[in-house]
Symmetry: C2
Subunit: 322 residues, 2 copies
Amino acid sequence: MDKAQLIGLDWGTTSFRGYLIGGEGRILARIAEPQGILNVPNGDFAGAFGRLVGPWLSQHGNLPVIASGMIGSRQGWYEAPYVECPAAAAQIAGRLVAVGAPEGRQVWLVPGLSYVGKDGVPDVMRGEETQIIGCLQADAAGRRIFLLPGTHSKWVLVEGDRILRFATFMTGELFAVLRAHSILGRLMQGEAMDAAAFRRGLERASGADHGLLRSLFSVRTLGLFDRLPAAGLASYLSGLLVGSELAEARRWLAAEGGIVADTTSVVVTPTDITIVGGESLAGLYFDALTAAGLSGQLAPADAVVPGLFRIARAATLQGVTP
Amino acid sequence: MDKAQLIGLDWGTTSFRGYLIGGEGRILARIAEPQGILNVPNGDFAGAFGRLVGPWLSQHGNLPVIASGMIGSRQGWYEAPYVECPAAAAQIAGRLVAVGAPEGRQVWLVPGLSYVGKDGVPDVMRGEETQIIGCLQADAAGRRIFLLPGTHSKWVLVEGDRILRFATFMTGELFAVLRAHSILGRLMQGEAMDAAAFRRGLERASGADHGLLRSLFSVRTLGLFDRLPAAGLASYLSGLLVGSELAEARRWLAAEGGIVADTTSVVVTPTDITIVGGESLAGLYFDALTAAGLSGQLAPADAVVPGLFRIARAATLQGVTP
């Protein structure tokens, strides 16, 4: 049987995922709990760690533990300061921060990345860097684009095995607050995806003259005038926001030396955009990329695991074999 | 003493304003109460009307009553269906809807306006039409632009005394939900306006390559990296949103046959944009227009009053003299 070498944690804002990891980063066992850093009572991360990971530690002895995600933020267990881009696994591994856990153990926290854009505005990620590294081969070459959709959607430019630059778009959070707290949510009914309404939102967002502030109001008026069914309004809003993100990201990529040239449908160098994320959201973005004349591919599930394994190996954490 | 001719009500979502109106639209007395349609218990508008306006009715006898704003919406007292643009005071006056009030009285509800844009998307206003009409002379000529900032900011193109076209931008509501419910609000401190931070938001929004979804995240990162003080973050967000509205509105005006030509700072035909709104918000937009190389002027206060008076006169409501 494959011997456990590492315990890897993907500990984010709302969820906790633990992996017992064997040789070459194979997953031997896993835990998933809604124990994100916001849900740990009194910020007792050491206690939560003991409850969640204790059984593995008892069973497998002195395994090293590495954790990525918001657990390493100021709001988490302990802050692991951002590493500036460009950065590969080696740079990240050199900046792990150890925090003391019960019974004399240590948990190694993976730092997030920062990048100051050409416009002088800083950007940050925490957790996504590990997923991306998990998607890269050690001998990776050439430029690639990664897309990590979510609350704060990230577009990331990678060269070889280095994360060069990235940008964040508030797409997911904007959708959530508008649905829950704005007048737009009042007419919406149901949770089901309406593919035609989503497409319609995408199409509107791709129109050059349709800014987002005005398009948002169309969610209300198309509902009021019965031009979209109430059950399709959330999907239409989603399409508007995802389509706007695509248009903005293409301009950002063009400005930052990326591969996709401009806001039209012309891709100068044919390329795949690798989408890293949960199935339904990744599928939505895959469709949106296709509709925009771009091509996407889905990253393997649990990309964080080979990422944690590679960083741990680069840090030569005890027990993790090359 | 000037004899009262009309009672005019500006009855919106969150506030109620009543005016006792004399010859030529002069204001003889006024009431302001936080009795917007959302704050009237059980939707008992007749009861609220009696409490608020009863004293004037007792004192001045059988005055006609006219009301504009959300009171005439589906969520209000009774729905006065939208009148399609283009529309002047005469068209609006021809579509007043009477609703029965206590003691055999009637209240005349002013309909809102609708406009289907060149992109096929409908837009609506309710209340703003009366304010605009209050700003127009009967012999008005030429094209003018009105800007009514607020929760749902309106840009309105007027020709002579007719409201031709308009567009709505969700600027104010987006600001409110982002501040109250998103991660952006968490770092913000204080309510005071920070003019420099507002200007910085405006400047960023005017950059062609800076889309809103990415710019929004800069509110967080500029705060995190201490590049903007916590006390300036709300003003910066406000500048970002107002600046984005300006850029979108200029594109809209160019597309809809307006006067301001494009997204650069060039104004093809020199013109004033008339800003209708409360002092602090109107002042903010005035500054934003100036910063964008446009010129604004503030509409007179209580523009709704001459608007209600003109519509009542056009409808030849009993007692309102020409």
